[in-house]
Amino acid sequence: MEENESPQLTKDEKKLFEDLMPEDLNEILVHGVNRRHFLKLMTLAGGGMLAWQSAVAEQVLTRPFSALTSSDFSPANIENGVNLSFKVNGAAKKLMVDSRMTLLDTLRERLELTGSKKGCDHGQCGACTVIVDGRRVLSCLTLAASCEGRSVKTIEGIAQGNELHPIQSAFIKHDGFQCGFCTPGQICSAVAVMDEAKNGEVSCVTEDVRQTASPIKLSNEEISERMSGNLCRCGAYPNIVAAIQEVHSGKEVAQTWEFRG
């Protein structure tokens, strides 16, 4: 991968970042545009950028961006190093990790994929949920070293390019979050729950586990139980269930608020 692009931005480009990604501007000016900025800009582009911005964005998006792994990381700081090659969101990754490093910290601190969140680091909140070889797991309790050859999908890989996954769109529509910190984990979990239902997997609230109907049609209670490993402190649970139910059932779920008086 290319080295960091020279930080010289055109006036328009600088303005673009200043307007859309002010929190990143400082870094961009010093270090140049990297892949993370690129991803973010892509997202914003999908989220309805202004016309003049789109033109500039196009310019930025066609330029090379910096390598994904932190270039300043020195292998000298790795103890009991383990060579790891695996796939993240479809791209092959090779790096050496400290044997103690979790998948979560590897994603966040080495691969600049900070979408997966550290809410508890002990498997008690679900904010770090990612999908490994098709199944949802907790990246905080997964050693990176144990991921050799595996395929990891994170929140950054849920959308197909510029197109949101239906679960992502439904979360926006049904306001399935407030602060948004648990959201990456909720969404990875929800995407996997869809497949689990398709496979006919049962849950703790399934009426009769001996029935082998497949796929399973999920009631709201089923969705609630299956999503209970993802805590949301803001209390967006009913909205999360509504979002998932809408995608799962293919039927619109009404949004309910009412004004009286």
């Binding site: 973010k40 306001d175 209970s228 402190r233 008086g261």
Partner: protein, 706 residues
């Protein structure tokens, strides 16, 4: 000229939603800072005493370690700078279990965490005050709270025909936002950038600057997204300045995140309260007296007392009133504001007692409340800017099917479950706070865009979205032409997102700025207009390329002539398993009168979020101290049960249409806090209606219903 449809008041989806669902919203530790070193805190394992010696040799020798910082080598900080809770490595004294006593900075997180485990501390222990059950009778008057008295409570109580005298207890609760408190500190010469989730951007800036002996302009707080706060990120705590200290000492940017376990004694808590409530009434339900005596605890050196008596001051028309507070200084982390501070816990006591009184009077609890509706604010005699309690109760009763409630408990059983209904009211004051904002307009041909800038915070409350809506309407621009920049202390100073003042203060100042810039455009045109043109029109017609202005807004001058509050009524349906005592809130309805609702979608989420908090308060959450050490035994999210998805049943929100023009220009009241007030009581009252068991000590776990 075509009138654009207003977007304010419509259910616009969050404009920051796309970043949140794709993992690209940056919270504290997500900001990509190069060459960052990692800091891990270590904490005291005694509750009181002094560090005799601290052996850092093994840690210092551990691979990758850059520095071990303790009171021995930490720079001198200003302890009166506004950082809460001490814990800043300024002395060997220990005042509570889990006080920060040092931090290790290393090349990697793994190295720092390991080295922190190698620290050996020798303590000189002192006797610690850790047992509230033993100490609560030693409570003294708080420094900033006088007893409030009206009439003669004792006489009224003595002569009353109907009375309730009970003590209600709530445990220690923790905020536990999903994002643990964390800071990245990066020095640039004399200036330091602190990426740090902050509900009060300027407050964090000032506290950090003052504590670090810097000028505010040397400190920049960056906090575009906040992973929940609920009060714990209102005031700022030691981690903010310790990250800056560490970064200075290792001459590199430093990332410092609290672990979940460290959260329990690092960033405040909601203190345990004993609340003795005595109500007396005539047989037709007119209240004769209300006394509400609160005993709680605070820290050894600093005092914080939740205002549990606030609801009792304003909810009911009662001639004889007593509200008192007593506080015990204990060796524990300083308590702090927690969602619906005082009101959520206080309303549990008051509204449970009202339910008990209604039961004794054989009166519908809704009728009892309506009977005692005050015409003016009984605490100060001011007229209400508006009050919706009765409407909330009546509309709620209709919508909830209150008539199906059985007056006597244990009358509604389905299979192995007892079903019960409960109601309780709540209130929270509404205020506008001074704030400033800049609006910038830019034209490209016919295309006009606006940027709104202010140091506001969005902790999931919807600030980005409601400000875009407000500006879009005020400027006459489509909402996707508005860019909202907040969460940065380099922007114009603004109120904090605390105490339900955020939406009110921010929306009003943005609206003022938009009006002002329109005025300026009109003035600049030098023309007279028959009807007032909009900013969007003027930008194009007057061919203005760029213009910006700043507004500094304050509450209206006569705002203090009125008592301005949000009000609600909460309705709960619970199902209690007869055998196991497990309770599920199967249905919950909150009816809220909170002025103008800027966005019903995000407002509903806020209300439901508060309700979920209240359900957690009522049923699952509890922080437990082992008094022998003063430590929390519930230090993980496996032990401290915030509600999970399956705990929450059907949640409904109704808003009362309300035009309140007195409190602030836009008639906005704020809803973040009121959503939790009254909820725990509604649930507890429903549990009584279902089972006949009155639980006066929260949470209502299965063991309490056997």
């Amino acid at each position: 000229m075509q009138e654009k449809e207003k977007v304010t008041g419509t259910p616009v989806s969050r404009i920051d939603g796309i970043l949140k669902v794709t993992g690209k919203a940056d919270y504290s530790t997500d900001h990509p800072v190069k060459n960052v070193a990692y800091a891990v805190l270590f904490k005291s394992t005694i509750a009181a005493g002094r560090i005799k010696d601290i052996d850092t040799a093994a840690a210092e020798k551990s691979p990758g370690v850059l520095s071990v910082i303790t009171y021995k080598n930490a720079p001198k900080l200003n302890l009166k700078g506004g950082i809460r809770g001490g814990s800043m490595l300024q002395s060997p004294d220990v005042e509570f279990f889990g006080q920060h006593i040092g931090l290790v900075v290393a090349e990697t997180f793994e190295q720092a965490r390991h080295a922190a485990d190698l620290i050996v501390v020798d303590y000189e222990k002192k006797e610690a005050k850790t047992d509230f059950e033993k100490l609560h009778q030693q409570g003294a008057k708080p420094k900033d709270k006088e007893d409030e008295k009206r009439g003669d409570v004792k006489a009224a109580l003595d002569s009353a025909e109907f009375k309730v005298e009970e003590t209600y207890a709530t445990p220690i609760y923790h905020h536990h936002p999903l994002e643990p408190h964390a800071t990245i500190a990066e020095w640039q010469g004399e200036n330091v950038i602190l990426y740090n989730s902050s509900q009060i951007i300027n407050g964090a800036q000032n506290a950090a600057a003052s504590t670090l002996n810097l000028k505010p302009e040397n400190v920049r707080i960056i906090s575009p997204y906040i992973g929940g706060g609920f009060g714990s990120k209102g005031g700022q705590w030691g981690n903010l300045v310790l990250a800056a200290v560490a970064a200075k000492m290792v001459n590199r940017p430093v990332k410092l995140a609290l672990t979940r376990q460290q959260m329990v004694n690092s960033v405040g808590l909601r203190q345990r309260n004993y609340q003795k409530v005595a109500l007396s009434a005539t047989k037709d339900g007119k209240l004769a007296s209300l006394s509400h005596e609160i005993t709680t605890h605070s820290a050894i050196k600093e005092e914080f007392v939740e205002p549990c008596g606030d609801c009792s001051k304003v909810m009911y028309d009662v001639p004889n009133l007593l509200i008192s507070y007593r506080v015990v200084a204990m060796n524990m982390i300083l308590p702090t504001y927690t969602r619906g501070p005082g009101k959520s816990t206080g309303s549990f006591a008051l509204e449970s007692a009202m339910d008990e009184l209604a039961f004794k009077l054989n009166m519908d609890p809704i009728q009892l409340r309506i009977k005692n509706e005050p015409e003016r604010d009984p605490s100060n005699g001011k007229p209400w800017s508006s009050r919706t309690t009765v409407q909330c109760l009546q509309e709620g009763a209709k919508a909830f099917g209150w008539e199906k409630r059985k007056a006597q408990p244990r009358q509604n059983q389905l299979g192995n479950e007892l079903i019960g209904y409960g109601v309780a009211c709540g209130t929270y004051p509404a205020h506008q706070r001074p704030s400033s904002a800049i609006v910038k307009l830019k034209r490209d041909g016919e295309d006009v865009t606006a940027t709104i800038e202010l140091a506001a915070a969005d902790l999931g409350t919807g600030t980005y979205t409601i400000l875009a809506q407000t500006a879009a309407d005020s400027l006459d621009l489509p909402i996707d032409k508005i860019i909202v920049k907040i969460g940065d202390s380099d922007l114009p100073p603004a109120a904090g997102a605390v105490g339900s003042v955020g939406a009110t203060s921010y929306a009003n100042v943005v609206n003022d700025a938009c009006i002002k810039i329109t005025d300026e455009l009109i003035a600049r045109s030098g023309k007279q207009f028959f009807t007032r043109p909009t900013a969007a029109q003027l930008m194009v017609s007057e061919k203005v390329d760029n213009i910006q202005t700043r507004a500094d807004s304050k509450p209206p001058e006569n705002a203090e002539d009125y008592s301005s509050h949000s009000f609600n009524a909460n309705f709960a349906e619970v199902r209690v398993n007869i055998s196991t005592g497990m309770v599920k809130v199967s249905r919950f309805l909150a009816v809220t009168g909170a002025g103008k609702i800027l966005n019903p979608k995000t407002a509903r989420s806020q209300i439901i979020g508060g309700n979920v908090w209240g359900i957690g308060m009522a049923l699952t959450e509890e922080s437990v101290v082992d008094p022998r050490w003063g430590n929390f035994v519930t230090r993980s999210l496996g032990d401290y049960h915030v509600p999970a998805n399956l705990d929450i049943g059907t949640m409904e929100a109704i808003f009362i249409r309300e035009e309140d023009k007195f409190g602030n220009k836009l008639g906005v009241k704020g809803i973040g806090e009121v959503g939790i007030v009254g909820v725990a009581a509604a649930v507890a009252n429903a549990v009584f209606n279902a089972t006949g068991k009155r639980v006066r000590e929260l949470p209502i776990t299965p063991d309490k219903l056997l």
